[in-house]
Subunit: 485 residues, 2 copies
C-alpha cells in the first residue's frame, strides 16, 4: 500500500522533503498558506526529478501522488509520517504540533528545525513522544544527512521507526544522543559563518575569496572524509595523538575571532549582499541550483563508484529498492535502469555524443539490470557471469551536450542459459539509439555456457514473463543494412 | 631550461610540494636533517605519481630530478624558488631564512606556515621582500589552494612572480590582501576544530558522528561552492539579504561554544585518539591516503567535466601544459595522453573491464590528442572536426578492478585531411589492448573531407614527423582474424 507523508511548510526545505518522499513512491500532502507554495514546490520537484534518479541504479518506483491541502487537518489525515518545516518560531511550531496531534495522535512528527532542541518542541504537547528533530540539509532531495535528535520523552521504538523511514527514502539518519542547541552540523556552520562575517566586515577577504578558500582546499576533503579522519591522515604514521600535540597550542592563539560576534546591521548586510552579487550575480538562482545539483551528482557518483561515504548510502538505498522491486513492482513496461546526462567530456569533436558513450550508456543499462536480478559482484566472485555474445546497435538520433538520457531495458526472451534483451537510449520520448543483445550465462572456470543460479532465475523469469505482454520493438531482429518495412 | 625548486623541510607538506614541482618538470633539492626524510618523501611521491597524472589530459612533462641536500646552502644553490615547510616555530623559521638568504639573496621564499603572518616571518631578514606566505593544503600534490599572503614589505612584482610559479605547477594562488593570524582557511578550520573538541569532550558526539555530520551534508556542498554561494542558492529567489535577515538573529543565540576553548590535556587527547582508532583504525594510514586521493580525483574529475571550481583550475593548467608541450616537448615517443583507474563501475560481470570501457579509454586518449593539436570545442563550434572512419581493436590482455591504465598515442601517418593513429591501452609495461584508427578531417556543414586548419596542422605535423622515427607497431595494419607472423 502506498504510504502518505504530510509536509507542513512548503519552502525550499519542505519542498525538498516533498520531492524525496514523492520520488521514493510515497503520496505527499503539502500544507502551506503561501499562495505561491504550489509554484515553489513545483520548481523544487522539477529540480529533484532531474537529479535524484541520476544517483540510482535501480528502477525508481512509480512517483507518489502530490496534493495541496487547505488545512493542516486535511494534510495530516491518514498520514504515516509528518514533517514540519515552518519558520524558526517556537510558538508557531507549537501551534502546528497542537493542530496535528488533534487529528493524528501518535503519528511521528519530524521537525526540520535548525536550532531548537526536541524538548523545547515537545513543551505542552498532547503527545510529546511523537515529536523529534529530523534536520535535513539543502538540497534535501540529494544530500543524505538527516540529524535525528530525540529527547528522553521519545520512546526508542519511535525513533527507530523514524530512522527506518528516513533510510527508506535514501537518507542517512545520524542519531544524536544528547540534545543541544543547533544539533551538530549547524554548530560548525554557525562557527564558520561568524568567522566569515568578521573577515568580510574587517575587509580581510571578500565573499568570493572566502568561497575559493573553502572549495579549492578543505571543502574538497570534507565531502569524503570529515574533520577527524582527514586529520588522522594528515598526522601520518605518527598518528592522531601526534597531530593533536602539534596543533594543541594553537587553541590558545588568536586564530579565530570567535570570542565575539560582529554587530548585525544594515551596513554588514549590504556589504555581503553586494559582494555576493559581484561574485555570483551573473548566474540566476535557478542556474546556480542546476550547477550545484550537477556537481553534487558528480561527487556522489564518484563516491558510489568507490563505495565510500555518501556513495555507500546510495548503494545501500539501491539494495533496499532492489528488494522492494522484487516484492512486486515488476510491471509490463520496459525497465528504466539508468539515468545519465551528456557531459562536456562525452561529446566528440562533431558536437554530439561519441559512439563509445552510446555503448557505455547501454552497458550502464544492462549492468544495472544484471545487478537487479542478482548477477552482481558477489555472483561473479563465485565464478558465474553473463557474457555478451552479440550486439546490434541502431543509431536513430543525436544526443548533445546537456541532454538527459534514460536507458530502458526490455527482456525479449530468457531461458536458463540465454538472455535476449532490447535496450533503448531515450532522450525524453525519443529513442536516440537501440541496442539489441544476446547474453549467455557462463561458468567462468569451466569456460562454458551453463544454467544461471536459481536465485537469478527466480528474479529474471517474472520480469521476462511480464515483458512478454509488451509489443516486440520495431528495431529487434534486424541485420546490419536491412531495409526498413 | 629545467628550473630548480629547493624544499626546506621534508614532512608531509614539504614532500607534497616536492612532488608537485617534480611532476611538473622542475628539479627539486630537499633539505631535511631527519634521517627518515628520503623514505618519507619517497612515499609521498609514490602517492603523487599514482594520483596527479589522473587529473591531466595533456602529456605530463618529463619528471624533474630529485636530490637530497646535506645542507641548506647546498639545497638552495641555483634554486629559482624556495619553499619552507619546517615546524611552526618562529625562531627556527628565522634561522632558515637567514641561512637561505646568505647564499640565495633575492630568490623567492614561500613559507608553508599555517599561522604566522608574513611580517612576523620577515623580522630581521636580510631581504624581507623575498619572504611571503604560500600556505598549501594536504595533499599538496592534489588540492589546488595556496594562500599567498604578502606584507607591505613585498614588492608587488615579487608576489606576481610567485603566483605565476604556483599556477605553473597547477595551483590556485589565492591572494590574501591583508595579513592576519592563520590567514583565511585555517581560521575556519580552527573554529570548527574548537567546536568539535567541545562536542567530543561534552559527550555530545563521537569523532565518527562528527565526521558523518560533515561528509553526508555540508561537506559535499563546500567542495564545489563555498559558504556564501551555497547560502545564496539556499536563500532562493528572495536573495542573499533575505537569507541573512532570516539567520541574523542566530548570531546572538548559543549555537556555538566558541566564546571559550576546552582545556587541552591528556584526557582530551586520549578520548579523541581512542574514538579515532575505533572509527578509522581498520584502515592503515597508507590505505586512507589512497582512499582519500581516489575520492579527490573523482571529485576533481567531476568538476573538470563541468568546468567548475577546482575543475576549472585543472583545465587552465592543461591549457598551459599544452602550450609548453608545443614549445618543444614533442619527442620521438608515443604520447601519454590519458591516465585512468579501473573503478568498480567499469568492470563487468566477468570480473574484467567491459569492452565499452576499452573503447572509452581509447576515445579519452584520442580526444585528448585532438585537443592537444587544437581540434577542440571551439574548433568544432567553427564547423570543423576530425571524424573516426575506421577502427581496429586488438584485445591482448585483461584489466581488472583497481588497475591503473595509461593511454598512449602514436601517429602512424598524417596529411592535410587524414590522421592515422595507433593507441595502446597500457597496464604498466603491458598493452592490454591496441586500437588503430583512421580519422578524416571534415567540414561539418558541407559534409565533406577538407584540409585541416593551419593552426591544427602546425601542431600535428611536427609530432607526426617525430613519430616517423618510431618502430611501426606489430599490431598495425591487421585485418580481423589475420594470423600472426
Amino acid at each position: 500500500m502506498t504510504r502518505k507523508a504530510a509536509i507542513i511548510g512548503g519552502g525550499v526545505i519542505g519542498g525538498g522533503w516533498a520531492a524525496r518522499f514523492l520520488l521514493n513512491g510515497w503520496d505527499v500532502a503539502v500544507f502551506d498558506p503561501d499562495p505561491q507554495a504550489e509554484r515553489k514546490i513545483g520548481e523544487v520537484l522539477a529540480n529533484a526529478r532531474a537529479a535524484l534518479p541520476a544517483l540510482s541504479d535501480v528502477p525508481m518506483p512509480a512517483e507518489g501522488r502530490l496534493s495541496f491541502a487547505g488545512t493542516i487537518t486535511e494534510a495530516v489525515e491518514g498520514a504515516h509520517y509528518i514533517q514540519e518545516s515552518v519558520s524558526e518560531r517556537l510558538e508557531l511550531k507549537h501551534r502546528v504540533f497542537a493542530q496535528v496531534q488533534q487529528v493524528a495522535p501518535g503519528v511521528l512528527i519530524g521537525s526540520s528545525t535548525s536550532g531548537f532542541k526536541p524538548s523545547q518542541l515537545q513543551e505542552n504537547a498532547a503527545d510529546p513522544g511523537s515529536i523529534f528533530v529530523a534536520h535535513p540539509f539543502n538540497p534535501v532531495y540529494l544530500l543524505p544527512l538527516a540529524e535525528v535528535v530525540p529527547s528522553p520523552a521519545n520512546p526508542p521504538e519511535a525513533i527507530a521507526q523514524a530512522k527506518e523511514i528516513l533510510r527508506e527514502i535514501g537518507m542517512f539518519p545520524l542519531h544524536i544522543r544528547k540534545e543541544i542547541d543547533a544539533h551538530i552540523a549547524d554548530r560548525f556552520l554557525e562557527a564558520v559563518w561568524r568567522e566569515a562575517l568578521w573577515l568580510v566586515k574587517d575587509g580581510i577577504a571578500t565573499t568570493e575569496e572566502i568561497d575559493e578558500a573553502i572549495r579549492m582546499g578543505f571543502g574538497l576533503r570534507w565531502g569524503q572524509m570529515g574533520l577527524f579522519e582527514t586529520y588522522r591522515v594528515a598526522g601520518g604514521e605518527a598518528g592522531m595523538k601526534h597531530f593533536m600535540a602539534q596543533f594543541g597550542p594553537c587553541l590558545q592563539w588568536p586564530w579565530t575571532k570567535l570570542t565575539d560576534v560582529p554587530e548585525f546591521n544594515d551596513e554588514l548586510v549590504d556589504l555581503i549582499a553586494g559582494q555576493s552579487d559581484a561574485q555570483s550575480g551573473h548566474h540566476t538562482i535557478r542556474e546556480l541550483e542546476r550547477i550545484r545539483d550537477s556537481n553534487l551528482i558528480g561527487f556522489m557518483r564518484a563516491l558510489k563508484d568507490r563505495n565510500w561515504g555518501a556513495g555507500r548510502v546510495l548503494r545501500e538505498h539501491d539494495e533496499r529498492r532492489r528488494a522492494a522491486f522484487h516484492d512486486g513492482e515488476a510491471t509490463g513496461a520496459p525497465l528504466v535502469m539508468a539515468q545519465m546526462q551528456v557531459l562536456p567530456g562525452w561529446i566528440d569533436y562533431n558536437g554530439h555524443m561519441t559512439e563509445s558513450r552510446y555503448l557505455f550508456a547501454a552497458s550502464e543499462t544492462s549492468d544495472a539490470f544484471l545487478r537487479l536480478i542478482g548477477s552482481d559482484m558477489d555472483y561473479v566472485a563465485s565464478g558465474f557471469s553473463y557474457y555478451t555474445a552479440e550486439s546490434h546497435i541502431l543509431h536513430l538520433g543525436e544526443a548533445r551536450l546537456g541532454d538527459r538520457l534514460t536507458g530502458t531495458l526490455q527482456v525479449l526472451a530468457a531461458d536458463e542459459k540465454r538472455l535476449h534483451i532490447f535496450i533503448r537510449i531515450m532522450k525524453g520520448e525519443e529513442a536516440v539509439a537501440t541496442i539489441e543483445q544476446m547474453l549467455l550465462h557462463v561458468d567462468m572456470k569451466a569456460g562454458r555456457t551453463v544454467a544461471a543460479g536459481a536465485h537469478v532465475l527466480d528474479r529474471l523469469m517474472p520480469i521476462a514473463k511480464a515483458h512478454q505482454a509488451l509489443p516486440r520493438p520495431e528495431g529487434a531482429g534486424r541485420f546490419t543494412g536491412q531495409r526498413k518495412g
